[in-house]
Symmetry: C2
Subunit: 84 residues, 2 copies
DNA sequence: TTTAAAAATAGCACTTGTGCTATAATATTT
DNA sequence: AAATATTATAGCACAAGTGCTATTTTTAAA
């Protein structure tokens, strides 16, 4: 089916940084070839949370990103390796 | 005066990462030689917020850290340059 | 195309991050 | 030591992150 109506859902702040973070995360996840579900499981987060971060619906906490970095088996530096 | 009673204030999760982040932040701030107040002003955050992060009372959001990185004039990578 | 897997949304409850304002404690300077 | 600057706490209101559960939409596979 097609999208009934575009859900407005406001963007978080003006932060382009969160958009870049989402891209970086998807990128790393692809490289490691693991699904959002798998990542969520490894990071002990929920699937919705992972999806919300990758779709820039929320502004995640540092703890959450630390868990994700560990789950992706990369350093925090690598996760935040993008220019804002 | 001395400290009347030690306020219990629970630590955020188990995250050693937040402790390291606080250290890193203090470190960078010292190098740049700016006070918490100055940093708060530059990052458009409150002084209490900066203090709470450096004393590991809270688990900051990514947006907040992006603002701090910009205010410190360093890359996000540099802010998160520590091993968890 | 049909089926199955993966990703994106949604709503609710609850916790917690943040701003604001004020005060206390500590460190630095004179 | 006294004065000043810096850092650490506190409490309240409000916004927002997270878990949970379920559904819809999109993508990949057969």
């Amino acid at each position: 089916m097609k999208k009934a109506n575009t859900k407005p859902r406001k963007l978080i702040f003006e932060e382009e940084g969160l958009i870049l973070l989402a891209k970086r995360m998807k990128e790393l996840r692809k490289v490691k070839n693991i699904s959002q579900e798998e990542l969520a499981h490894r990071a002990e987060l929920t699937l919705s949370q992972v999806a919300r971060i990758e779709t820039v619906k929320i502004n995640p906490t540092v703890s959450t990103m630390i868990r994700i970095a560990k789950a992706l088996d990369v350093s925090l530096k690598e996760v935040f390796d993008f220019e804002v």
